[in-house]
């Protein structure tokens, strides 16, 4: 049973709170209690003592969820119940985070947005939580919430409505009788349409769109760890996590079919939105049929295992993510130089790579880090700039905002020791390279949307057009090359 919910920023300052009863504590009281009983809750996830759930009293538990997208902390206070599953509270906080994003149709929720919509968010929480439990009567779908908490109309729509009312008022005497009949017919029609509902995630009362639009966004995050073996890289472990988001602004109740070409990749068992139809219990990515919810929703998530990949797959292992990395130690006459070269493959669908950063980690062999002092000196640098980190043994090669594909950036540097003696035989080597970047236009696995079809249910006339499209984005989660 949930007692209260809170939303805070990364510094744990309260942004929003929703209390379900008179006995639920405000955030100030809860904060004092948490600080005294279990301060580990206040650590972030990179700390040793990180804790995201703790008892704060007899039969009282606090759960914490950090939203990576919104950079917000969600907290909930719940009473201990033996029928509660271990994932219930964390999943519910994540669900609320998703609902808020989909309700406001935003990619990121800002603090100002929350402050400006206190009443709306309170009502959303009221819809999601009933009797201290998740509202399981289909109220966790965004279209249901939009029915209960209507979106704010645009000013232009309101002005149009006002102008229309003015026109009607002027014409009222001439067409009084006719208008009255139309109103009655309209009212009857509305009462019939009001409760028509084919599926719980879509309502026929959705606002009418001027144009029919359907967009598919494919975002892939790949995680790979390579190790250097002589002259080539060997994959230790790797996987690609894919997310298919759909933005649907269609009228009526259409049946949509999306065809994904997996290019030989095995996407395993993806997690699907409830709207996806599964024929005979087997999911086929080449024919995904669904009645789309209105607005933005997540169609499916999949994971491609690169470790057990067959050779016919669409992923080119040598240049996954369009990057080939080569680095060498022990160069120069004193064997204290290293060189790092990066081959950014030329690809016609991708013209540039964004926010490219390369972390270099150096390892000290046979030495006490406190006894030796050194710094990295760059001899030649074709792109970007190099920064030594505050931590000894780390550096960062930072590129410009955009880097064109088809280039070969090179970084050559040497290690300068500050206290060399006659018996000095120790050396510092480049040990690990981590890459971080993203690009638009192509997915890492090669999976693409082959077709987006409206099978049935959509009326297309002269005044309505259908717009559809697909967009691809790839970003790195973990990209590490070990010496």
């Amino acid at each position: 049973m949930y007692l209260s919910f809170y939303i805070t920023d990364t510094k744990n300052k309260l942004i929003f709170q929703y209390l379900l009863g008179a006995t639920a504590p405000s955030f100030k009281h809860l904060w004092t209690r948490v600080q005294s009983t279990c301060p580990q809750l206040l650590e972030d996830s990179s700390s040793d003592d990180y804790l995201d759930h703790s008892m704060v009293g007899r039969d009282l538990e606090v759960y914490k969820y950090f939203s990576v997208i919104n950079k917000l902390n969600y907290w909930c206070l719940a009473s201990t119940s033996k029928s509660k599953g271990p994932l219930d509270c964390f999943t519910f906080l994540e669900t609320i985070d998703r609902i808020l994003l989909e309700y406001f149709d935003k990619d990121k929720l800002s603090i100002k947005k929350i402050v400006n919509n206190y009443d709306r968010i309170s009502l959303i929480f009221n819809c999601c939580v009933e009797a201290g439990e998740p509202n399981v009567s289909d109220m966790l779908y965004v279209n249901k919430i939009k029915e209960a908490v209507p979106e704010r109309s645009d000013l232009s729509k309101f002005i149009s409505s006002t102008a229309h009312n003015l026109q009607q008022a002027v014409q009222l005497p001439q067409q009084r009788q006719q208008q009255l009949q139309q109103n009655q017919i309209s009212r009857g029609s509305n009462s019939l349409i009001e409760n028509e509902e084919i599926v719980p995630w879509r309502t026929s009362r959705a606002s009418k769109h001027e144009n029919n639009e359907l967009y598919v966004d494919l975002l892939e995050t790949f995680h790979v760890v390579f190790e250097k073996k002589k002259s080539h890289l060997r994959l230790l472990t790797g996987s690609i996590h894919g997310i298919v988001d759909v933005r649907s602004y269609l009228n009526d109740n259409p049946l949509v079919a999306v065809k994904l070409n997996t290019m030989g990749n095995d996407i395993g068992i993806p997690s699907l939105h409830d709207c996806v139809e599964i024929n005979d219990g087997v999911f086929s990515p080449s024919n995904i049929t669904f009645i789309p919810p209105d607005g933005k929703f997540r169609l499916l998530e999949y994971s491609v295992d690169l470790s057990s990949q067959v050779k016919q797959s669409g992923v080119r292992m040598n240049s996954i993510g369009l990057m080939s990395l080569h680095f060498q130690n022990g160069l120069g006459k004193d064997s204290d130089e290293f060189e790092l070269s990066l081959n950014i493959e030329n690809f016609k669908k991708v013209s540039q790579v964004d926010d490219l950063k390369i972390d270099l980690q150096f390892n000290v062999e046979n030495a006490d880090p406190n006894e030796i002092a050194y710094k990295i000196k760059i001899l030649r640098n074709t792109h970007g700039r190099f920064e030594n980190s505050i931590i000894m043994g780390q550096g960062q090669w930072i590129f410009d905002k955009s880097t064109a594909t088809g280039t070969v950036p090179v970084l050559r540097g040497c290690i300068e020791y500050e206290n060399t003696g006659p018996n000095f035989t120790k050396k510092v080597d480049l040990q690990t390279v981590s890459l971080e970047y993203s690009y638009i236009g192509q997915s890492a696995s090669g999976i693409y949307v082959e077709a987006i079809d409206i099978v049935s249910g959509l009326t297309i006339g002269k005044n309505t057009k259908l717009y559809k499209g697909a967009k691809y984005k790839t970003q790195t989660g973990n990209f590490q090359v070990r010496l």
Partner: protein, 809 residues
């Protein structure tokens, strides 16, 4: 002319009012930030004025301000002071204002019961509203007030609304049952149980979702309620809300354990008569190498119905399905389904750190029981550089449970990287070192391999104290298993003590302790180790000094015992040997005395105290006690003794409770022996049959998987027809026209825009119309038994609709 002027004046007057309203709204809706600024400038006095205004827009502005104060925890205004003004507005027609007042009452209703009662009359009126959303809201608001005096009223309302035609309202009844149950009145539990039985027999999956939640929260011990619904719930589980799916699975697990017979395992490996035994109580204890499981048909139905949930995006559903397979099925059945793959997919993809930790613990729990479940996914648990510490530690623990002969080489290499890398957090490094001991436990050669690598790494790297402690602990653990086979490595440790002077204190202490333990096996080298340690005694750390003292005492004790042994042997040959140990002449005794002298004046109190104890033992001449004390063999160190982090090496109580194996009920007789089938389907309650309309028939074919839901929802509009008909005769004419016109328009559009797939779907429409007609016949026979006027009107409408539809087709 006068009429024209009058019409123009009237139009202008209307336009004036509309323009003024538009200006007011435009001012307040220019932007969200502007509105927030305006809202924040409302002072307390203005708030009272706005709350008492007749303009609904002003009331809404005031309520928004109040909700904002509650949401931001603003202390400058005490919103409870406006209780009376807020409650007064419950009679408004604005649904949003009603909801905002509900939020206010949710928080403050208990504090002022008398004023809260003023709102009840208005809410009770809403219970009869034709809008099902308003009825749902009214019931929710009433039951949320948590006032004991309201309980009888709510109970009466709940009894009445359990037959409401709207599934949304019936679902809300189940949620109201939860609130009434938690109010603590035991008098109502029996009545609420009867209402819940009605709800569990509903045909609408939405109502079942709510009923399952109420059942789990309030009456989870009454498993017999599931007798009549078990098979139906297994079939419709896909249509429930994902949260209710998880709840229902947990309930059905308990039901299967209680009311279904235990599965039987049949041995398929023997060629003679097949042997069989019941499924063991503990997981993965089946004795047959090749077996087949024979289940009760209802258990098979339940396990097969889980397969359609494998694509769920809710992690709680995936985890519940894994728990069901763990509790009710054999390891082979667990592998044949793909829920292990779904579980691994869920844990790798989620960014929810709380879920990630819990899921990794669940995988660790299952992996300890059956390593082969996760062997194909070993690489999924390699640590990524950006993993949080908590996830990294659990991943390494999972890796250590997956170590076997075929993959130990790769895992060992991976663990070496974690240990050697300078950029992993310290706790992760320590856990990786500990996991190396699991590699060493496979065989003697791997023991040597691990220890050799650890010692080499210890020599060549400067490590922190806690990491060194882990190294030495692992070495001690492996050495104690088989000391005689690792003497070379132990000798290498002796060299390490001399060469590696910068070794941490606790590590050196551990090595010295180790030599004390092997003195009983290989005595020769130990005195020399002690000799070299004495020279540097004062420069050692306190732990090492303490261990050196103990080592010297142990060596002296062994030497005395050896002397006695030699004396017994020698006395038979020669009586001239001295009868007592020569303390002054023995080198070991001299080293002992030197250490004792140094220890007596040590800075550490503990070392001085221990020196006095050992000295008094030897001085008293009771060497038997000394031998018992110092030479007793120590038990082999277990993995549990070596705790890196108590929190991160123990499953949380939630995981333990979740996966606690429930006992099977062994008193169940065979199904064949019992005459009755207790799981025969119960009678269902279909409150949607009074609604029907042809207007949504064309949509049913769009989603065959949800045809059950669509069919139920398609009947929702009938009640509105009835209401419209009962208003007036003229209304009847209008409704008839609307009904007819709507259908005509739909047909026209279908004909106009239909393409080839649309035409092919027409035959199915005809079939469905026939089915609908059959339903009508059934409804007609039931309605004809009523005597009121309502059924006549409804019948007339239905006949007209049918006739029109047939004509169109």
């Amino acid at each position: 002319m006068v009429d024209s002027i009058h019409r123009i004046a009237s139009a202008l007057d209307t336009a004036k009012v509309i323009t003024r309203e538009a200006a007011a709204v435009a001012t307040s809706k220019l932007g969200e930030s502007s509105y927030t600024y305006y809202s924040q400038n409302i002072n307390p006095q203005q708030l009272v004025t706005l709350l008492n205004s007749r303009n609904s827009r002003e009331v809404r502005d005031a309520m928004k301000r109040i909700i904002s104060i509650m949401a931001s925890d603003d202390d400058s205004i005490d919103v409870q002071l406006y209780f009376a003004d807020v409650v007064k507005n419950i009679t408004t027609n604005d649904t949003k204002v009603k909801r905002l007042i509900h939020l206010y009452l949710l928080r403050f209703a208990e504090n002022d019961p008398n004023l809260t009662l003023l709102s009840i009359n208005s809410l009770q009126k809403s219970l009869s509203d034709s809008n099902s959303e308003l009825r749902c809201f009214a019931l929710s608001a009433l039951s949320d007030m948590k006032m004991s005096s309201l309980a009888p009223i709510i109970l009466h309302t709940v009894k009445k609304l359990v037959t409401d035609p709207s599934a949304m309202v019936r679902g809300e009844v189940a949620l109201a049952i939860i609130k009434l149950y938690r109010a603590g009145k035991n008098d109502y539990h029996e009545e609420l149980l009867d209402i819940l039985k009605e709800l569990m027999a509903d045909t609408d999956p939405k109502v079942i979702s709510c009923a399952v939640l109420a059942y789990k929260e309030c009456y989870a011990d009454h498993l017999e309620l599931l007798h009549g619904h078990f098979r139906r719930y297994c079939r419709i589980i896909k249509q429930l809300d994902s949260w209710s799916q998880s709840y229902l699975i947990e309930l059905l697990i308990k039901y299967c354990k209680q009311y279904l017979p235990k599965p039987t395992v049949v041995d398929k490996s023997s060629e003679g008569s097949p042997r069989s035994c019941p499924l063991p109580d503990k997981y993965n204890e089946i004795e047959y190498p090749s077996y087949e499981v024979v289940n009760d048909p209802d258990l098979d139905l339940f396990l097969q119905s889980l397969n359609c949930l494998i694509y769920s995006s809710n992690p709680t559903v995936i985890l519940s399905c894994c728990n069901a397979l763990y509790q009710l099925a054999s390891p082979l059945q667990m592998k044949n389904t793909k829920f292990i793959e779904a579980l691994v997919r869920t844990v790798t993809m989620t960014e929810n750190q709380g879920n990630k930790e819990m899921l990794l613990q669940a995988i660790h729990f299952l992996s300890i029981l059956d390593q082969t479940l996760f062997l194909p996914y070993t690489k999924k648990f390699y640590v990524f550089p950006k993993d949080p510490i908590v996830a990294s530690i659990w991943k390494i623990q999972i890796l250590s449970t997956l170590i076997n002969e075929s993959n130990v080489k790769e895992i060992f290499k991976e663990l070496k990287y974690y240990v050697a890398s300078a950029h992993f957090p310290e706790n992760v490094v320590i856990m990786a070192v500990k996991s190396l001991s699991r590699c060493g436990q496979l065989s003697t050669s791997w023991e040597s391999h691990v220890m050799k690598w650890l010692i080499d790494h210890m020599e060549s790297h400067n490590l922190s104290a806690s990491v060194l402690d882990a190294y030495v602990n692992v070495i001690r653990m492996l050495v104690q298993k088989n000391p005689t086979k690792h003497l070379r490595i132990i000798f290498k440790l002796a060299d390490l003590l001399t060469v590696q002077t910068s070794l941490a204190d606790n590590a050196r202490a551990g090595i010295v302790w180790l030599f004390g333990e092997i003195a009983s096996i290989e005595f020769k080298i130990c005195p020399d180790v002690l000799r070299r340690l004495i020279q540097n005694f004062s420069n050692e750390g306190p732990e090492t000094r303490c261990q050196i003292l103990v080592l010297s005492a142990k060596l002296l004790s062994y030497d005395i015992d050896n002397f006695k042994q030699a004396q017994v042997t020698g006395s038979e040959e020669n009586n001239q040997n001295p009868p007592y140990y020569d303390f002054s002449g023995s080198r070991i005794s001299q080293m002992y005395n030197a250490v004792l002298y140094l220890a007596k004046y040590d800075d550490e109190f503990d070392i001085r105290d221990r020196a006095r104890m050992i000295s008094s033992l030897f001085d008293s001449g009771k060497y038997e006690i000394v031998s018992l004390l110092l030479q007793a063999p120590k038990p082999t160190a277990r993995s549990d003794d070596f705790i890196v982090s108590a929190r991160l090496e123990t499953h949380t109580p939630e995981i333990k409770e979740f996966f606690r194996m429930l006992p099977w009920n062994t008193e169940i007789t065979e199904v064949g022996e019992t005459g009755n089938d207790i799981r025969e389907g119960a009678e269902l309650k279909d409150y949607n049959k009074y609604k029907k309309s042809f207007s949504s028939q064309s949509f049913i074919t769009n989603n065959s998987a949800r045809s059950f839901t669509s069919s139920s929802n398609a009947k929702l509009t009938g009640i509105n027809d009835g209401d419209s008909n009962s208003i007036s005769g003229k209304g009847n004419v209008n409704t008839f026209t609307s009904q007819n016109g709507k259908k005509y328009r739909l047909q026209s559009l279908d004909e106009f825009f239909s393409d080839i797939p649309e035409r092919k779907s027409k035959p199915r429409k005809i079939i469905k119309v026939v089915e609908e007609s059959s339903d009508e016949d059934e409804d007609e026979s039931e309605e004809s038994s009523d005597d009121d006027e309502y059924s006549d009107s409804s019948l007339g409408t239905s006949s007209s609709g049918t006739s029109s539809s047939h004509l169109e087709l």
